[in-house]
């Protein structure tokens, strides 16, 4: 039932705090026959962290999330949430989960307030004042019918229903899709506040700047397989730096070519000076500087690309 008083996060007979991990995926596999699912996914997410789950369309992000929610069943492998089995303890688990699907529809003839009231009742223990506060912060008029909402406003209803019961684990699939920049900022604040309260956030996205902004750790999935996992800062080992070097004379292409980890050379000649642009892996930078020490360099610019560019480069190389 909807409560008028402030409530704490859902209480449960199972002590979910005992588990170090919010999520543990062990050889999780979903086989769709001819089409791809996910293959032997191993992954752990610690309690209290914001975990980014990255991948291009069709990589298996949503399949993984639907397995966690027990909406679909694994072909093999296990998923544990707060130490509980995602299949046998699914109802207990869902007391502690807030879920925002990537695509969802709700009852077209219900207003926002009725939609949220219904889900509040199904969950139980929701503080309605908090729902109103969330609506105010996201600037959502809850009196309109769901079918009258724009895409962004529908997304806000989804965000509120995911947050309203102050879950221990938030599972968000492409959460800012359709939100305008102001509401995106407000959403990021809400995510940080949720983290500050001790909750875990599992955020699936293909927007690198979003992941870079809010996540502590990131996993990259491609064609149903985990290809990379680590702290945002650790991802620099797959990061490439864009270099622009201007020489007083001929570009020493042979010397540069010999450095492992440099690629995509582009020479731009003019009367006296010659400039080269290339992409260097992070581990190659030291070697580049040592080679350049033997030449007269007039200008040296190194730009750290966004995670988005890194991600695209990474996939390009993998292909």
């Amino acid at each position: 039932m909807v409560n008028s008083s402030t409530t704490q996060q859902a209480e449960s007979p199972v002590n979910i705090k005992q588990s170090r991990y919010a999520l543990e995926l062990n050889q999780l596999t979903k086989n769709y026959g001819s089409s791809r699912g996910i293959t032997e996914l191993d992954l752990t997410v610690e309690q209290g962290e914001i975990f980014g789950f990255l991948g291009p369309n069709g990589a298996g992000k949503t399949t993984t999330i639907r397995l966690l929610l027990n909406l679909i069943y694994p072909t093999s492998g296990k998923a544990r949430i707060f130490g509980l089995d995602s299949q046998s303890d699914t109802v207990e688990i869902r007391k502690h989960i807030g879920y925002l699907p990537g695509e969802f529809t709700l009852y077209s003839n219900l207003t926002g307030v009725k939609t949220l009231e219904y889900f509040a009742n199904l969950r139980g223990g929701v503080d309605w004042k908090y729902v109103q506060e969330l609506a105010q912060r996201l600037d959502l008029d809850m009196s309109k019918k769901f079918k009258q909402y724009s895409r962004g406003n529908k997304q806000k209803v989804g965000v509120i229903q995911a947050l309203m019961h102050k879950p221990r684990l938030l599972v968000l699939d492409e959460p800012t899709s359709g939100l305008d920049p102001l509401n995106q900022q407000e959403f990021y604040k809400l995510i940080q506040e949720t983290k500050a309260s001790g909750s875990t956030i599992f955020l699936s996205s293909h927007i690198m700047s979003e992941v870079e902004k809010v996540c502590d750790r990131v996993a990259i999935i491609r064609e149903g397989k985990l290809v990379k996992i680590g702290l945002i800062s650790e991802l620099t080992d797959i990061k490439a730096h864009s270099l622009e070097i201007t020489f007083n004379g001929q570009v020493p292409l042979e010397a540069l070519n010999a450095i492992p980890g440099l690629s995509r050379f582009e020479v731009a000649p003019n009367d006296h000076l010659q400039t080269v642009r290339c992409v260097a892996r992070a581990e190659s930078l030291d070697k580049v500087l040592k080679v350049l020490a033997g030449y007269t360099v007039l200008n040296f610019v190194s730009r750290e690309p966004s995670l988005e560019e890194t991600f695209l480069d990474y996939y390009r190389e993998q292909k």
Binding site: I72, V91, V113, S143, K144, Q161
Partner: protein, 550 residues
């Protein structure tokens, strides 16, 4: 080539349906006409066989309408199959009609189409035209089948003109319900528009046949498209083709098309056409003032489902009440008509209708036969609400709440049973009052048994629907509708076609029996309820164990 414009794309989208309906229907017509000589072989007793066939067909006049020229292949085909073909094809057409604009709107695919430089008038007319041409390809294949059958049968009396006019008559009648579905889709959701069109189609179908029998209500036949269909039987030489009736059907399509186009271009995309825009719809409260409504219907899955089911239940219940009010007070006036009908037919007696023209006997034919069919159709609409939860993607969020899948299904099914109880209670109470007020005494116990049997039909059909939804939600309503149709035909036609007894016993309508005449068969009713429980148990396990669609 078929993607060149909206018109061709609409036909392309229907290719599979055109082929299935067209080829199967064509083969059926070919088979029926070709087999005619074997049904009434030349011999001394041919005239007697034909006479018995007339009696048999006329026994089902409420279902089939008048039989004509059974002594010819064309007349036989009309009496045996073609009476119901416009309704069957109409069912397919109304689904297509509601899908054409409203369905695409709900799926979100119309947004992109409307972003192209096409006017809305052009979009809707091209789609309507595509639907019309798809339909006429289907019936043209039927016409070819009829012609092929006629060519192989001796003295069939079938020629190209009569075959094609028959096909046209079927097509233009079915098209009325396609256009009606398209029109109603401007005022309500696809699901609601389909339900209303099915209801209107069923009402006009039965009212036409009832009007044939009851002079008091003869005027009602003019409101039924099926009456104008019946006016032309090009394959039956004594009836022939009525140009006026065909013109009325063409006119009816055009008359429905005008408000369809107007309401579509006048309404917002994604919204419903409103003649009088309500203040409440325009009024927008600020979020600060929006407090929880504490609505009873939002309290849990059971109450929510009940809230979803009640509007349809009340509309269905009250519509049937209107029918009860029409039929029961006039019971005396058609006592003699039904007595004559029963005397002329052994088949009605064989399938359980009493020869004694008691009030119960008359009401068994005029009321409860139809109520049993309507109860099954009502239950299908209730199943559609449940299967729609998955088909429309609601389960994704519902199942993220801490409720188990079995609990969700069982709560929803319980709500379906409660709604069915209300549906039957409305009818029973009104029936009781009308019999008292209009002095048509009936046996209270038998009447109670008859209404309880209707509830059992609702429960079993709903149980079967939940089971089918648990197996494959997308096709559950379609398969369930087909099964109910087969069940109905198995009950009514098993004696006529000498089907094995077990086939008739499989029919839920046979198990319902004629309780208003004989009292309820409590063993059969208990067995049906056990079967229903079995269906729900299997549905629960299946729903629990399978992947949810997204």
């Amino acid at each position: 080539m078929m993607l060149r414009n909206i018109f061709l794309k609409t036909i392309r989208d229907n290719t599979r349906a055109i082929l299935i309906w067209g080829i199967l229907g064509g083969l059926l017509m070919l088979g029926v006409i070709k087999a005619y000589d074997g049904v009434f072989p030349n011999g001394a007793n041919k005239a007697q066989l034909i006479d018995e066939a007339y009696k048999a067909f006329n026994s089902f006049i409420i279902l089939t309408g008048k039989a004509a020229d059974v002594d010819t292949a064309g007349g036989y085909a009309h009496s045996k199959y073609l009476y119901m073909v416009p309704a069957l094809l109409g069912f397919f057409m109304l689904l297509m009609g509601t899908m054409l604009i409203r369905g695409e709107e709900e799926r979100g695919s119309l947004d992109v189409l409307l972003s192209t430089p096409k006017t809305r008038v052009s979009v809707i007319l091209q789609k309507w035209g595509g639907m019309l041409v798809s339909l006429f390809i289907i019936v043209a294949l039927w016409g070819l089948g009829t012609l092929g059958g006629g060519a192989t049968a001796a003295n069939s009396g079938v020629n190209a003109a009569s075959a094609m006019l028959t096909a046209f008559n079927v097509g233009i009648t079915a098209m009325v319900f396609g256009t009606l579905g398209l029109l109603l889709g401007n005022f309500m959701s696809r699901k609601a528009a389909s339900s209303w069109t099915i209801g209107i189609m069923a009402f006009t179908y039965f009212i036409k046949n009832i009007a044939y029998q009851l002079p008091t209500f003869e005027w009602l036949k003019y409101i039924s498209p099926f009456y104008y269909y019946d006016e032309s039987k090009p394959l039956a030489r004594s009836v022939g083709t009525s140009a006026v009736a065909l013109a009325v059907l063409i006119g009816l399509n055009l008359v429905l098309l005008v408000p369809t186009v107007v309401s579509y271009i006048k309404r917002d995309h994604g919204a419903y056409f409103e003649l009088f825009r309500s203040r409440a719809a325009v009024k927008s409260e600020s979020y600060q003032n929006t407090t929880a409504t504490r609505s009873l219907w939002l309290r849990n899955n059971f109450t929510f489902m009940l809230g979803e089911l009640l509007p349809g239940t009340i509309i269905w219940g009250l519509s049937i009440t209107a029918y009860i009010l029409l039929i029961v007070p006039a019971t005396d006036s058609y006592r003699q008509i039904f007595a004559d009908l029963l005397k002329s037919s052994d088949i009605l007696q064989n399938i359980g209708f009493n020869v004694e023209m008691t009030n119960e006997g008359i009401l068994a034919i005029s009321l409860f036969l139809i109520l049993s069919v309507l109860a099954a159709i009502y239950a299908i609409t209730q199943v559609a609400v449940w299967s729609g939860e998955e088909n429309e993607g609601h389960l994704e969020l519902l199942l993220s709440t801490p409720k188990s899948r079995p609990r969700l299904l069982l709560e929803r099914f319980a709500a379906t049973l409660v709604a069915a109880t209300l549906y039957v209670l409305i009818q029973a109470v009104i029936f009781g009052l009308v019999t008292l007020v209009s002095n048509v005494p009936v046996n209270v116990g038998k009447a109670a048994g008859a209404f309880f049997g209707l509830w059992v039909i609702c429960a079993v059909v709903a149980g079967a629907g939940y089971l089918l939804s648990a197996i494959k939600a997308e096709v559950a309503v379609g398969i369930l509708s087909g099964l109910i149709l087969l069940s109905f035909l198995a009950d009514l036609l098993s004696d006529l076609f000498k089907l094995p007894n077990w086939v008739a016993q499989m029919s839920i309508f046979r198990q319902y029996g004629r309780p208003i005449i004989n009292g309820a068969d409590w063993t059969a009713q208990s067995l049906l309820l056990l079967i229903c429980a079995g269906f729900v148990a299997i549905a629960t396990v299946r729903f629990w164990k399978r992947d949810i669609l997204n």
